[in-house]
Symmetry: C2
Subunit: 201 residues, 2 copies
C-alpha cells in the first residue's frame, strides 16, 4: 500500500516562516515512521495512515501555539493504484470491514481522542472513496459517524464541519479516514482545520 498526505500550514501573520518551521519541527517525533519532503507549496508525508493524521495534529498544534490564526489544509490519500507499494506504509491500523457490520457504531466505539490539547479548532472534511460505484454509501456512513461524534458542528455543501478540541477533531478525522473503506481501497480525505480565527471557531 501507499499512504500519505500533502499538507500545508497557513499562519495568518507576518511571522509565518517561524510558525511553519515550528510545525514542521513537531514532525521530528515521527521521523522513524514517516518519510517527508517540503517544497514551497506543501509537505509530503508518507507512512501509516493513522500516524500521518497524528503527526499533522501535532504540527498544527505547534504552529498555532503562539495564538496566531492558523489553518492546516491537507489531502490524505491511501491505496492509490498509481503509486508503488511502500513498506513504510503499514495498513495495520485500518480495521477489517465485516459483512453486515454497523460501520458507524464500530467507528464511534474506536473514537479515542486521548489527552486534550487545550486548543480549540474548527474544521471541515470530505471523504472521497474512489474506484467504486458505491462511493455515496460510504460517504453517507462517514457523515452519519460525524453527526453522532461529539465534534459535529453542521453539514455544509461538499463537506462536514467539525468543532472541538484539536485532539478531538483530529481523532474524528483519523476514524473518518480509516473506517469507511477497506484496507485495499483507494481513498482520499481532504481536511481544513482552523484555530484562533477572529471570526470565531
Amino acid at each position: 500500500m501507499f499512504s500519505g498526505t500533502q499538507f500545508s500550514l497557513y499562519p495568518m501573520t507576518a511571522e509565518f516562516v517561524p510558525a511553519i518551521l515550528r510545525g514542521i519541527a513537531a514532525l521530528d517525533a515521527y521521523k522513524d515512521q514517516v518519510r517527508r519532503e517540503t517544497d514551497d507549496l506543501s509537505t509530503l508525508m508518507v507512512g501509516p495512515p493513522d500516524t500521518i493524521v497524528r503527526a499533522m495534529r501535532d504540527a498544527f498544534i505547534a504552529t498555532a501555539s503562539k495564538g496566531d490564526h492558523v489553518v492546516l489544509s491537507a489531502t490524505l490519500s491511501r491505496g492509490c493504484p498509481g503509486e508503488s507499494d511502500d513498506p513504510i506504509c503499514t495498513a495495520e491500523a485500518i480495521p477489517p470491514m465485516k459483512e453486515g457490520e454497523d460501520l458507524v457504531a464500530s467507528s464511534l466505539a474506536r473514537y479515542a481522542p486521548g489527552k486534550l490539547s487545550g486548543l480549540k479548532a474548527s474544521a471541515q472534511i470530505s471523504l472521497y472513496p474512489l474506484g467504486t460505484e458505491a462511493h455515496m454509501a460510504r460517504i453517507g456512513a462517514c457523515i452519519d459517524f460525524l453527526k453522532r461524534a461529539k465534534v459535529f458542528d453542521r453539514s455544509k455543501n461538499f463537506c462536514t464541519k467539525l468543532r472541538g478540541d484539536a485532539a478531538e477533531v483530529f481523532a474524528a478525522i483519523e476514524r473518518s479516514y480509516l473506517d469507511f473503506a477497506p484496507a485495499n481501497a483507494h481513498v482520499v480525505l481532504t481536511i481544513t482545520v482552523s484555530a484562533n480565527s477572529p471570526s470565531g471557531s
Copy 2:
C-alpha cells in the same frame, strides 16, 4: 446539476482580514451568476463550473495584489448525486465527450488563458472522478494534458504542480475540471494556488 466550490484565501500577513475582504469583493462581478455564502472556514460559491473557476481566479489575484504571500485552497465539485439540481448551475461549458476522442488534444485546443494578470503563481491540483471504476484513466488523461500544458512544473505524489501567470494557471485548472468527465459525472477537483512565496513560486 449542482456545481460549486468551498474555497479559502490565506494571506500570510497580520492584515489578513482586509486582504480576504478584497478577494471576496472581487466576486461581486459574478453576483448574477453565482450564489455565495462565507463562514469562518470558507466561502461557498454555487454556479456554472467555468464561472466558478474564473471568479476564484479574480478573488485570488485581488487578494495577492498588495504583494503579500497568499494561498487559495479550494475543493470544486460538480454532479454530486447527494445535492439537488440547481438551475443556477448550468452545464453548458462542459464539452460533450465523443467516443474515441483524444481528450488531451481536445483540452489543449480549448485552453485559453486570455489576458495575463502579471501575477506569478505556483499551484498543485488533483482530480477525483467519483462513482466510476475508470477513475485512474480519467486522472491519467488529465495529467497528460497538464504535462503538455505550458504551465506544467512537475509531478508530485497525489497531485500535479503547475507554475505560470495566474491567468494561465487558472485556465489549466478550468480545463482540468471540465474536460475529463462527462457533464453528468460526479467530479471533484482540489486546488492549492500560491503567490509571492518567499520560498519562490
